[in-house]
Symmetry: C2
Subunit: 248 residues, 2 copies
């Protein structure tokens, strides 16, 4: 990459080279020094509602541990899943007092929290932090727009395949425990929530799992741990090809 930013200080982005990153690569030791103790760690149990759409956001923070989901609700109760967050994703928007999303812990979660003021200070004082945050938000934007193609233009099988691949990329594969080489992905959400992300019903999600199973791509029967037999094929169905040209 030879962009203007890259030429200057993009090395400082993904992981701060000036320090051994404490907590994670957003709040590294350099950032912590400027922050000077103005922070706290909050913990949430699985299922805990961290923020409510439209209400005052309780804090700004970066996830240290666990998985979180953000959803938007319509007036009549319809729900659209928006993002799955994992470390070091940011919860909250420094430009808004109110949360735009309902934010729910999907596992045991820890968040490194700072005040909006402290966040503003970091953004203002630290080129490194500012760049890293901009980088995160630009890639959030790209992912959200790619997701539009999923909801607008893909069939239910394609959508489900897309979600499984993205979850695998985001949360990683699980190790089976027994010494086999099989690929497992743990989906941290119910079929209903999968449906909320994919704009379809729980029943259709279930049926599409069955279809993918009959095709020999994966197995998910009644469980949230998915065994993947043919990851390449799954990527193809999803319309994702990370080995070559970026299709999505």
């Amino acid at each position: 990459m030879a962009t203007g930013i890259a030429d200057r200080d993009v090395r400082l982005g993904r992981a701060c080279l000036n320090c051994s990153g404490q907590f994670d690569d957003l709040f590294c030791a350099c950032v912590m020094k400027v922050l000077n103790g103005e922070h706290c760690i909050r913990r949430f149990e699985p299922g805990a509602v961290i923020a409510m759409e439209g209400l005052k956001a309780p804090f700004l923070g970066s996830i240290v541990k666990g998985v979180v989901c953000q959803e938007i609700s319509l007036a009549d109760g319809r729900v659209q899943g928006v993002t799955l967050l994992s470390p070091p994703d940011v919860i909250g928007n420094p430009l808004h007092d109110n949360s735009r999303y309902t934010v729910t812990a999907l596992s045991e979660v820890e968040v490194f929290c700072i005040s909006a003021n402290a966040f503003g200070k970091l953004l203002y004082d630290l080129p490194l932090f500012r760049l890293r945050f901009l980088e995160m938000k630009l890639s959030d934007l790209e992912r959200a727009r790619n997701w539009l193609t999923v909801l607008g233009r893909r069939s239910s099988t394609e959508r489900l395949a897309y979600l499984v691949v993205r979850v695998a990329q985001k949360i990683g594969f699980s190790t089976p425990g027994n010494g086999t080489a099989d690929l497992f992905v743990h989906l941290p959400i119910t079929r209903e929530r999968i449906g909320a992300f994919l704009g379809m019903t729980m029943e259709t999600v279930s049926r599409e799992f069955t279809h993918l199973e009959r095709k020999g791509v994966l197995s998910a029967r009644g469980s949230r741990v998915i065994k993947i037999f043919d990851y390449r094929r799954l990527e193809t169905i999803a319309g994702i090809d990370d080995d070559g040209g970026t299709i999505d």
Copy 2:
């Protein structure tokens, strides 16, 4: 708003108070001074393809005049509309050399263009510019996520109503010319492209215009200039209520 950023220098965001904004509120006179002549204006005819998805982006720039659309294509030719751009929206991503979208001029368009290096310099040197850009991208992100609810959870009538309201908000109402008080919105896109934005076919778009017409909400017969009889009702159908709680 009493966020950390607002406390500091958000006044400089939406319109620079230090200068009389030349061109627009992104490239104000202050920015121009730092830029020191390193820019050019590019013009495009309606229908011109400004950038192609996956190929090297020709420039970074801010729209000065006209309307532009960004679309994502799938391998098999399906197209998803992503954004409608109008002044002073930014074309291009300072962190990528390649365009993520196919970018098309919908009218006569002028773009204030600078090099990626110059863009990086502005981002680095000018807190004002940097904040404004972050602000733009955070609101792009919010709009993209709200659009997810449109594609994932709304019926075709609701989707169409949503699009009309958003276009009206973005591009503004047209004045009828004759002295009537009627509201007109000029849609800068064909039914097919409307469909690409809404994840539906041209035919369904057309049918839903007819439905809205039968309901007495608007009239669009065969034309891109839409007459709106009941804007409030349109907003209600769209699930947008800008006079009160933010629903979308």
